[in-house]
Homo-oligomer: 282 residues x 6
């Protein structure tokens, strides 16, 4: 049985037909799921809890309402407080300290998605601007609907995207010219282009179909050995940031424990018996 | 008002209809823009100056004449002097020192394009061989015309490309097999293939259309906050070479100063007032 | 004249029409070329020898029989011995030591393909599962036939792929979402998809046509200066794992010796004389 | 005025004669300050709060009671629960996941000392075993009394030190042979040896004198510009883990904001006027 | 019972009074233990075998005869063959390939000492020149006798030390000025200086006393849990080459298996019962 | 014959009794050799020229006048212009860009000493504050006189040292606690302490004796093969910033050219003939 999840800006559901899958939804549809500080702090809590919840093996992340996955930062809320508002009595160096702390904490909330031990599939639709890109590049797999409108919006409000897009997008999409173009121009791009460059893996008819597909993929992944799946996520993320030699060694050390799982024999036996294996919780 | 630029092998123009955009052209059309040492030394000067010229916010780089962006190294000129010519009285270790100094200096001239704080868009056409690839991978965005003929030509003259292609191309194009194939075979590839693998972002009818498109994109980028644009270029290049964690931290430190720009409020206000923002020089 | 190669599980041939090309074939067609320990140890020998054989300038790797390049690990053989079988009297920490040694040695046998100084082209067909992916990502270029069926199969037997796929695939294919999807779902993918994401460079009608194309490409590469070709492979692999700055410096140091080859003048002269250059052995 | 600090296992005091200095003491003297889980979780809270408390500019960390700074892990408490105790129904791979989460969280609590933006001076005396080394290598400066008895004790209880000693000690003490010897032999070493190899900066007569010296040094540091001091700590830690080139660039970016402090002119003016400068809070 | 070791240039003994300790001696006293190729190839075999021999938990490495640990490369033997001798018909680039292969293989033989899973203590006396430094920096701990005469001799024969000294010495001794001075001047330094800068851990009266002390230290280390000892060596070497953050994570992953050893409870129980623990083989 | 050197703030001499040695002196004794911008720009020129001057094989750097090697930045000059002075009409983000460019250029001038291919020995005396530390950590070897007074002075003027000390000092001195203490406290330390921690290699009676000793050491180094000496400097600096594995490989590639020098046989022959070898210029 999954833990009890009760949050203010996020819903967490466990669809009956998707064993071991958690469906997280950004739940501020009336504001097009725009984020303010309390939301990203809460989001970190959500993914930190799911990371260690042994009833969860895969996660889908979507946005409530038909209009937007998220339009990004709620600029109005941001301008009414927080480090971007005026603290006129501080010198620029002191203001920089406050800004840095703020940015690093904000980044950490997004990184909670990457740090989550379970694979996360982002199912996006409608406006998916700014923070939507930061957030989804911290996820493992991205799907979207035909009506999606993506943009790395930050240069249009006078800043370099600082919550993850600039660090992660070049490692998610192997087309550095395209990454630079969309980050420097802030132009909108749609589903087809996102698919072509590899930002998303597939495109679906609408929001509902995208979420359904994400749940289906999550269910497939959740049916595999959780030892194998979580090891695979971890090692792929490590390898992205290290040389092949360091990646191989880390894999060897990781698997020296992981290979001692009962899941290997469970999987092999099920294979021979042509039935679905059952794996212990993790 | 932009600084005065007067060079021998390069023209630098400031098209009236493209505020804050510099158009740099390799200007040796009669030799298909082939490079010799004085040219790359001058090119470093061009981009070093543009990097700090506050009247410039984006740069287009093209080649004069209809035939070629550049055919690469002027082999004839190279063979008549320089470290590849015979210094028969030096032992191989001493010759190696001279060659290394020469290569590192040559590389540094190309890196001046990457180091330039303003985004650089390469607009290529016709023969774009050898050095053309080194040079354009140091640019931020690559466009080309239909008639372009690319090749990583170096193995055909008995050497491994050493001015940047082998270091940068695998990070510009996320298709390592293709990178190896074109680098090992030296075969020609055209616009369509370049687009498919992500080496260029778009293809245009001819040289003029390519340059026009590059200028248009540069003009768009130059209309954004220069604080945001230049920060975005810098952080993307840093992130390419570091782990995500190091990328995030560098971004946080960078933005602790950059977020104190007046451009954020200028951009936000213009957004509310539906007018084009004006940004101070940088 | 090439060295004499006589192996048990691999054939090594030198096609007359492909000078300087070695054709290595996995030779256990009756078991769909499934691997067990003696095979990967032998494979390391094959590639270590070819690496220093001066009669060899490019290598094609294929699988015997119509059904499979390789179906991966011979699970039956693996379960009858080796570290995955039960050593019930060891505590988990000690068992981990044995597993780690085993994995690191296994990885090293695959890395022999990457370490081989000559370019290796993998020509794949039919079932190409698990180890097929590990193996081919250690090669330089991948080609396949229409009937190929790829899968990163490991999660289906309860483990994270540990022989190289997770470390190398994200650096071979610049589409991190796709890499995660196929590694987490273990689903089959075919030739067309492999081509689209850049896992293979081209697709051919059948096994024979794929091998023919691989031999043709190998022959082309083998006709170039071996100093240039081997330097290109080495520098590209180094650059993949280092920053651009480190890549440039390494290239400069490497080429300070390599540029002193006679191949440069041989190539230049042949170019002027419109004839095929001949290069000394290496 | 400093924030209110009320903790269970740690005391936090603000000595009147040491402006801007916090004195943190491990407060479990009856058990020789041995640690159990609640303590290290609390310690993370202490240093996280101090890190952002603008009334604090330097920190001294000591242990209550005459006998020990800390004897390390409270093995008894550890064996009665937590991941080292038996969860006999889990397979080794699942147990490994629990152990890893536990170790990483424990490490993070120690890293809170390193992450704390203010310099931390460890004042050690008596038994300073195991965790004492992990903890003090995360501090910035180490002082000790003559009666100190240090040991990297972990191999004596059958494990490799995993909370930081093995990662940090080689970077704190530039004598790799000595580091290996004390880590592999678990032997006791005293104040004189610690001073000779550079593990501590100075040795004092007894616990009281050590703490007094630490407070004096902390007071000196706290009298400097907090912008300068905190920048210095941050850049030194960054430089330890990066190349000189990366260190220089990070410093340049960091200081582009930090140099805009009013502290520079305050410091210069005070220098001319021969009086003590006052710096704004940070 | 230890495996049978029978080598030509090395003796391997198992002193009765030092359980689990192997004593390796370079055995070419008549030539002051100078090395030629067959010797370093054999040395790699010795340490590769010892690395996996479960009867061995610590190793002492010394040189036979009173005069020298080793005088380094046998220059005479080296000049009579091998890649340094003249292959006058090869161009410098081709010669470079042969030299590089040769150097990398030679390095790998020395690295076998570092790669060996068991701690290695070098006990040095008399002439300990050139290769002696390369070799001993690959060991974990260095001891020497009063009569030792060290030198990084390579610049005196016209080359930069390439078998490990230049890569490892700066990480063994935290005094970069001293490292540069001895490497650039090739001057002799003695036991006292070596002790002062931390190159050796202790100095003994003569060869016999040094070996005795090394065996005693090895015996102490061999009495500890082999899981703990070998993990400590591995993690310290990894940490030397990585950031603290990467070191901590690797440690966490490593220990997730290693903490499941029976040695922890064996050690704890023995501690309570005041008796010497016994540990299973590894 | 050495090139002609004529500079404004530096003298460059070639002592007759020290063949191949250049003696560079900071020549502003009346201002205690305090630096302003024109000086560090000139210093870069000096070392860039010496780096490629084949008549120079080793360099000594000292300060004119009895009082100081250098007291560091000429604060008065700095406050009258440059980026630290007020540009009140720029926002903090724009000011940051100017500061960053300024710092990076300043750093690059100091790095010219490290980048210089020939070993540089700093001979220090009297006041050696702030920039003196930045500068001397970029040198290879540091000597000083008894009267020296060192300080990492920057925190006392409200800033974190940004021209190299914080990046290089932790890699020059293997005592991270001491480095932090002197950097955070800005306290003076003398010759004896500098020697004890390894910041300097030796201490001499006075300025003259220090310079004499530096020239003697430089003369010794200059008598060795320049191929060997310059390779040793380069590889040691590379190794400082890379893993042992990367260090070994770089060494192998470097030496594949360097070992083809005639210096090896010249050195060996001279050794046999008991005479001083002569080496070709480099």
């Amino acid at each position: 049985m999954a833990q009890n999840y009760s949050f203010k800006y996020f819903t967490v559901q466990f669809p009956a037909e998707s064993p071991y899958v958690a469906h997280v939804e950004i739940n501020r549809a009336d504001k097009m799921n725009a984020f303010f500080e309390a939301m990203w702090l809460e989001m970190r809590q959500v993914f930190t809890q799911l990371s260690e919840d042994s009833s969860v093996r895969a996660i889908v992340l979507s946005g409530a309402g038909e209009k937007a996955f998220t339009t990004g930062l709620d600029v109005k809320a941001a301008s009414q407080g927080g480090p971007l508002s005026s603290d006129s009595n501080l010198d620029p160096a002191r203001k920089a300290v406050h800004l840095r702390r703020h940015v690093l904490e904000f980044q950490d909330c997004i990184t909670a998605v990457e740090r989550c031990e379970k694979p996360v599939i982002a199912a996006m639709h409608g406006f998916s601007l700014g923070l939507a890109i930061d957030l989804s590049t911290a996820a493992d797999i991205r799907l979207c609907s035909k009506d999606v409108r993506f943009a790395v919006k930050e240069v249009d409000i006078g800043l370099a995207a600082d919550i993850g897009t600039l660090s992660r997008l070049p490692k998610v999409v192997g087309n550095f010219g395209w990454v630079k173009e969309v980050a420097l121009s802030a132009r909108i791009f749609g589903a087809e282009e996102a698919l072509r460059v590899g930002f998303v893996s597939s495109v679906y008819e609408n929001r509902a179909a995208t979420i359904a597909a994400a749940l289906k993929l999550a269910t497939l992944i959740a049916s595999k050995s959780p030892v194998a799946v979580q090891g695979t996520k971890e090692i792929l993320n490590w390898s992205r940031d290290h040389s092949v030699q360091d990646g191989l060694r880390y894999t060897g050390v990781w698997n020296s424990a992981a290979l001692q799982t009962g899941d290997v024999s469970a999987a092999l036996l099920s294979g021979l018996q042509k039935r679905t294996p059952t794996f212990e919780k993790l």
